[in-house]
């Protein structure tokens, strides 16, 4: 297992290096000057600025400087916000994003697991129909539409929650709900399928034959066996969350990195875009790695056979 984890971390670093390289050269290909918003500058001023940002050096040298900087946690300096390091921009804004992200994933998966499990146990009943209906809605309605609807009805019309203001827990409720819809739908659907499969399996029948009550059977055997595969969808859900957070933060004016990413795109703030791209990739890779390792630890079939995780 230890060897496997080391190998995976090796791949992770390689992947990040490839991504860093790709984004760097892509950014060099980008049209438009970084100072487009300061069009009134003279040629002399631009030269000074280029020197300041190291843009006068050959591209390859810039690349090396960039890589060395990355190793020190230096993502460069934002073009948009006067001389603010990208790393500072990120660190000052990651808190709110993490808060609603973590809240949403907990809310979504817990409710999703419950909903999916109940739907599977009461298969083809009205509970199942309702759960399936919600799962379809959660999957189909884009989260920004959902976010705007929540904002309109609960904040604007009913005034239960603040409209767009980042101030404590109550202001994180609506964005959390908006973000949680997709993971909820995904988990519920996945959990239902898994659980239906498990409930049809022979070992569940044997559990019943041992004298377990239906609920004991679910608690002792069905739940664990259907929960293990659910871990595998956390990776894809994390991606959904990242995408979702960009619009949801934007709609609710949350000072997070998703909102920052959208703003940086509209202002061509390349160093910030690059920094956030790397950050998003890093988070995604770490999540996938953690999920794989976790899966290996939880599923005895993988843990004990000593083979190289699931592929």
């Amino acid at each position: 297992m230890g060897k496997y984890i080391l190998k995976r971390i090796g791949y992770m670093i390689l992947t990040l290096f490839i991504i860093a390289t790709a984004t760097f050269f892509l950014m060099k290909l980008m049209p438009g000057s970084p100072y487009a918003n300061q069009a009134k500058m003279s040629a002399e001023q631009i030269k000074i600025m280029n020197q300041q940002y190291g843009l006068d050096k050959p591209v390859f040298q810039q690349y090396l400087i960039y890589l060395v900087g990355l190793l020190h946690g230096d993502f460069g300096t934002s073009f948009q916000f006067n001389n603010q390091p990208v790393s500072y921009l990120i660190s000052s804004r990651i808190g709110p994003s993490m808060q609603i992200g973590v809240q949403a994933i907990i809310l979504g998966t817990v409710l999703g697991i419950l909903l999916g499990a109940i739907a599977a146990i009461r298969k083809n009943s009205w509970v199942d129909t309702v759960a399936t209906f919600f799962a379809i809605l959660g999957r189909s309605i884009p989260n920004f539409v959902f976010a705007v609807l929540l904002q309109f009805f609960l904040a604007f019309k009913l005034k239960i929650f603040p409209i767009a203001l980042w101030d404590g827990f109550s202001s994180s409720i609506l964005p959390t709900i908006a973000l949680a819809m997709a993971p909820l739908a995904t988990t519920a659907r996945f959990m239902r399928t898994e659980m239906v499969d498990v409930l049809n399996s022979d070992y569940i029948e044997l559990a019943r034959a041992k004298g377990n009550t239906p609920w004991q059977t679910v608690a002792k055997h069905a739940l664990r066996n259907s929960l293990i595969p659910v871990i595998t969808i956390i990776g894809p859900m994390a991606v959904d969350l990242m995408v979702g957070s960009m619009v949801v933060e934007n709609i609710f004016s949350i000072p997070g990195i998703g909102d920052q990413f959208v703003k940086s795109i509209t202002t061509n703030d390349y160093p910030t875009i690059m920094g956030l791209t790397l950050l998003y990739s890093f988070m995604l890779i770490v999540v996938i790695l953690v999920v794989d390792i976790l899966y290996g630890f939880i599923d005895p079939r993988i843990r004990l056979s000593g083979n190289e995780g699931s592929n």
């Binding site: 892509l26 189909s140 705007v148 995408v243 875009i273 995604l284």
Partner: protein
């Protein structure tokens, strides 16, 4: 349990031997035999939600095709004087389509205010530039569907061959191809799409290409997994043993058996692409003005949603209905093609 033959009546020929029946007749299967696809269609027809979705989508596609040649008025024509008019149908008798709006607690006839000539009305109202929202919605749906179909085409053109080759070749080729997929998929596809869009000039083509570059991965993975299973099936082994060319095997044995996987995945890809376009337009790097897509309509509508909710209501309803219909149809197809999920 002993003799219970009290109510049995014997006839005189009761104990006459009967000549043996034709065995072949007994082996006959009484139910009509259906091909895999016929059987799938039969199961799909039983799924009401999927059938309704199919008809709804067909209707929407027809509307979209009509919008290429005809819309009630020019979707990009601006009448600033007629800006932000609420929905109105005919003489304004239908609730919700009266052409009146609540301004500061008073009901105001916006059409009269804007001095719109009698007989002119906008079914879904107008936007801040006085453009007809119904026409824009028609065009927007058409554009979004087009993007959905085109992006899915990438799935088929890249994802299917990639998956087939990777699964069929196996060994080192497979490992290499899978590593490549792993690297690409460890970058959030959103990030790739956004980087691509920054590189190209925004527009239909660049959106489709950007989504296509990342969209094929799921398809490739599914097709590869399916190919791996098919490869070990007896009939494929038989074909290989008989020396059929790999291309012929792919065409005759793999593609037909992969078709259900491909069709189902396609049905899931289209709504994903539609969602993605809407998302990109929403954050401002999608379809450029003045063209309408569901995303741009939602983005415009959101800006004034609190005060003129109808401008977002209808595109939001449209995208939700399209997404729900595609997802229900895809679910229905999956259940129909995969009898295991049925009872």
């Amino acid at each position: 349990m002993a003799d219970n033959s009290t109510d049995i009546k014997f006839k005189e020929n009761s104990f006459k031997r009967i000549e043996q029946h034709n065995v072949d007749e007994q082996e006959k299967i009484s139910a009509p035999s259906l091909t895999f696809f016929q059987d799938a269609v039969r199961r799909l027809k039983k799924n009401k939600a999927a059938v309704i979705s199919l008809w709804l989508l067909a209707l929407i596609v027809v509307f979209s095709i009509i919008s290429i040649w005809w819309t009630p008025s020019d979707p990009n024509a601006q009448h600033v004087a007629y800006a932000n008019l609420p929905p109105k149908i005919a003489n304004g008798q239908i609730p919700g389509f009266t052409g009146k709006a609540n301004v500061g607690g008073r009901i105001v006839d916006k059409y009269a205010q804007a001095k719109v000539p009698a007989g002119t009305y906008y079914v879904l109202g107008t936007d801040y530039l006085g453009r007809d929202l119904f026409s824009r919605l028609m065009k927007g749906i058409a554009l979004s569907l087009l993007i959905g179909f085109l992006a899915t085409l990438f799935d088929l053109v890249i994802g299917v061959p990639y998956g087939v080759v990777s699964g069929w070749k196996g060994g080192r080729v497979d490992t290499l191809m899978q590593r490549f997929i792993e690297i690409i998929s460890s970058i959030p596809n959103l990030v790739i799409v956004i980087l691509m869009l920054l590189l190209f000039t925004p527009g239909l083509g660049s959106i489709v290409v950007a989504m296509g570059i990342t969209g094929w991965i799921t398809m490739a993975r599914l097709v590869r997994a399916e190919t791996l299973t098919l490869k070990t099936q007896e009939y494929v082994l038989a074909a290989r043993t008989l020396g059929e060319s790999p291309f012929k095997i792919a065409m005759k044995h793999l593609i037909p058996n992969l078709s259900s996987t491909i069709i189902i995945q396609t049905m899931f890809s289209i709504p994903t692409a539609i969602f993605f376009e809407a998302f990109l337009s929403f954050i401002g790097i999608g379809i450029p003005a003045p063209n309408a897509s569901l995303g741009t309509l939602l983005s415009d509508g959101q800006k004034t949603f609190r005060f003129l909710p109808y401008q977002m209501w209808y595109p939001a309803a449209a995208i939700s209905i399209i997404m729900i219909a595609f997802n229900l149809l895809a679910d229905g197809l999956r259940d129909a093609f995969d009898p295991k999920t049925q009872e």
